[in-house]
């Protein structure tokens, strides 16, 4: 019986997880290593990689700052509307990414609320890096906050109170006590946030405008190349994203081990 269940799980995992991964790499290397690297060296591919890295950097940085602030406020202070704020933080997870993208079109598009004003001042948000970064930031906001809130709530406020009573200022307390206590949780949130930021398709697709060599991120380029039957190029870029996923997975496992230890050492 146990053998049967294990076998079913393994077969399922192979068909749905391992096989697709193998196919990605097989297709990428179908015409040899030379072609693979040539495909990655294309200007369009390089531009997509650059844009993706830049977008991920911007949105992870923003979410790091705002996620930590939101988690700090929610877990260490009591105020009205706290429950509402917690619910709002989850909003990007519950909304379809396409809708998230459309929201930005409605705000910044030519027919949007601020569109005419932006146009008259020659500020480009949609179909440019700011729009892509904004949409990605929106979609990936919950990761950092979500990974910190339970941890911070569990740790309570006693260590902060101790620091304050020992004469530490608010900032000293934050940087010397609060932040070190959640560092593994924070890294974990950043890691997941980064993986999602680089892989985001839906919201970015709506705001990017698909300008070749300019506003295509890696996931967008994969789709475009695939639709144009350039399978090797398409899968070559897809293989980079797949590798990102594998690295994320490994890093996540390591971090989770640290997180468990951190929580164990917290108990008294």
């Amino acid at each position: 019986m146990r053998f049967l269940i294990t076998a079913i799980a393994l077969i399922f995992l192979t068909v749905f997880v391992v096989l697709p991964l193998v196919v990605v790499f097989a297709q990428a290397f179908a015409k040899g290593i030379g072609t693979y690297f040539a495909a990655l060296g294309e200007p369009e591919a390089l531009s997509a990689i650059r844009l993706t890295l830049l977008t991920a950097f911007i949105s992870v940085s923003l979410n790091l700052v705002f996620g930590v602030i939101a988690a700090w406020a929610i877990s260490k202070f009591e105020f009205r509307g706290k429950t509402l704020l917690i619910t709002l933080i989850d909003l990007p997870f519950s909304v379809s990414p396409v809708i998230s993208g459309l929201v930005f079109v409605l705000m910044f598009g030519a027919q949007g609320y601020w569109g005419p004003w932006l146009q008259s001042h020659n500020i480009h948000i949609l179909f440019a890096l700011p729009g892509i970064a904004l949409a990605t930031t929106f979609v990936t906001f919950p990761f950092v906050a979500r990974s910190l809130i339970p941890l911070m709530q569990e740790q309570g406020t006693q260590e902060e109170e101790a620091a304050i009573s020992l004469g530490a200022s608010g900032l000293q307390t934050f940087f010397r006590v609060t932040l070190p206590n959640v560092k593994w949780g924070l890294l974990y949130g950043v890691l997941l946030c980064n993986a999602r930021a680089m892989g985001e398709f839906g919201a970015v697709s709506v705001v990017s405008g698909h300008i070749r060599g300019e506003t295509n991120t890696m996931p967008l380029l994969v789709e475009i190349l695939y639709n144009e039957y350039q399978f090797v190029s398409s899968f070559a870029i897809a293989s980079l994203l797949a590798m990102l996923a594998l690295i994320t997975l490994i890093a996540k496992t390591i971090l989770e081990r640290h997180l468990d230890e951190g929580q164990l050492s917290g108990g008294d």
Binding site: Q158, E159, E161, A162, A163, I164, S165, L166, G167, A168, S169, Q172, R176, V177, P180, N181, K183, L264, S265, G266, G267, D268
Partner: protein, 349 residues
């Protein structure tokens, strides 16, 4: 440093945690705040520390308004119930924390900080643990490190919230004596909160008994035990026999029976008679203020504890008494009982 608290009020929603509290603590005292949970003792301690703020009232240290300053400026050492050691720092860094966060102008140099931490770890006899993390320490060790950390800033006042609450019985006992001897060594004004009367009576110079956000009595340990000011204090400290009685025209009645005890100067009306278990003297049947049948006897150490059914007109009441073992009691004996000492407080619950 003397502490004065005037007319302090603190409400959480509709619950009055502190209800017009006044208290004076003299310089160098070791004071216990004793009371059941919810009596407001921890709230009072946190307000003195600056970790909570009162709705109204005054707190002053040596005549200076303490409420004008935040917790960090009051120079108060606070030891938390669950120690609140910084989990990501070694014992050494925990103790050094208060010295390292000082403004640059007054901060000691590294060598001076190291010397001071070493001195404190020696004081709490745990210098051999300086490289460990809090999770690697026992409860008693964490407690002493928390104390060393609080003392590092040379506080003018030391506040301890249930300092022995989370420890097992044997360690508690050791730490109590240790805290008392530490206090006589460093002599800083200290207040600790406890719900354990034995702890309060054994460690403190003075005990403040609190209930429902009010101070019921302030006195030496002997005082609060021997001369409880209120029914609450009598019931809370030490084991008491409580009997509902009626006082009228200088007579004390239990049910319809008039008790042969003095009732001079007592208010008439429904009251409660409080007697310590060991203050109940066993007499031959027919004499004494009360009479009853022994239902059950257990002996431990120098005393025998007997369950006695007092005969009252409308039924019987069970009480427990502690008697010396020189005259053994038997189940079924009918005995007279006379309270050597007793207190009568007006009102019934």
């Amino acid at each position: 440093m003397a502490i004065e608290v005037k007319n302090l009020v603190k409400k959480f929603g509709t619950f009055a945690a502190l209800d017009h509290v006044d208290l004076r603590v003299a310089d160098g005292e070791l004071l216990a705040l004793l009371g059941p949970s919810g009596s407001g003792k921890t709230t009072l301690l946190r307000i003195i520390a600056g970790l909570d703020w009162p709705d109204s009232g005054e707190v002053s240290f040596d005549g200076q308004d303490a409420l004008a300053h935040g917790a960090g400026e009051r120079n108060v050492g606070f030891v938390f119930q669950h120690y609140a050691l910084f989990r990501h720092m070694t014992v050494f860094e925990n103790v050094a924390f208060g010295l390292r966060v000082q403004p640059r102008a007054v901060r000691k140099d590294e060598a001076a900080i190291r010397a001071r931490v070493k001195e404190l770890l020696d004081l709490v006899q745990l210098d051999w643990l300086s490289d460990r993390y809090p999770s690697q320490l026992s409860g008693g060790q964490r407690q002493r490190i928390a104390l060393a950390r609080a003392l590092a800033i040379e506080p003018r006042i030391l506040l301890l919230d249930e300092p022995f609450g989370a420890l097992d019985a044997k360690v508690r006992k050791e730490l109590r004596q240790w805290l008392r001897s530490l206090h006589s060594e460093i002599h800083v004004t200290s207040i600790f909160v406890t719900h354990d009367q034995e702890e309060a009576l054994e460690v403190a110079n003075r005990v403040v008994v609190m209930d429902k956000g009010r101070i019921e009595q302030v006195g030496t340990p002997g005082d609060v035990y021997d001369n409880p000011a209120t029914a609450f204090v009598h019931g809370f400290i030490g084991e008491s026999i409580v009997l509902p009685v009626d006082v009228s025209e200088g007579c004390v009645r239990l049910g319809k029976k008039v008790l042969n005890i003095a009732a001079d100067g007592l208010e008439s009306g429904a009251s409660r008679l409080f007697i310590r278990r060991h203050d109940m003297q066993v007499e031959p049947a027919g004499t004494g203020a009360l009479e009853g049948a022994v239902r059950h006897v257990r002996t431990f150490g120098p005393i025998q504890r007997a369950e006695v059914a007092l005969s009252v007109v409308d039924g019987e009441t069970l009480i427990e008494i502690d008697a010396p073992r020189d005259r053994p009691l038997q189940v079924g004996d009918v005995i007279g009982l006379h309270p050597r000492r007793f207190r009568i407080f007006a009102g019934q619950e």
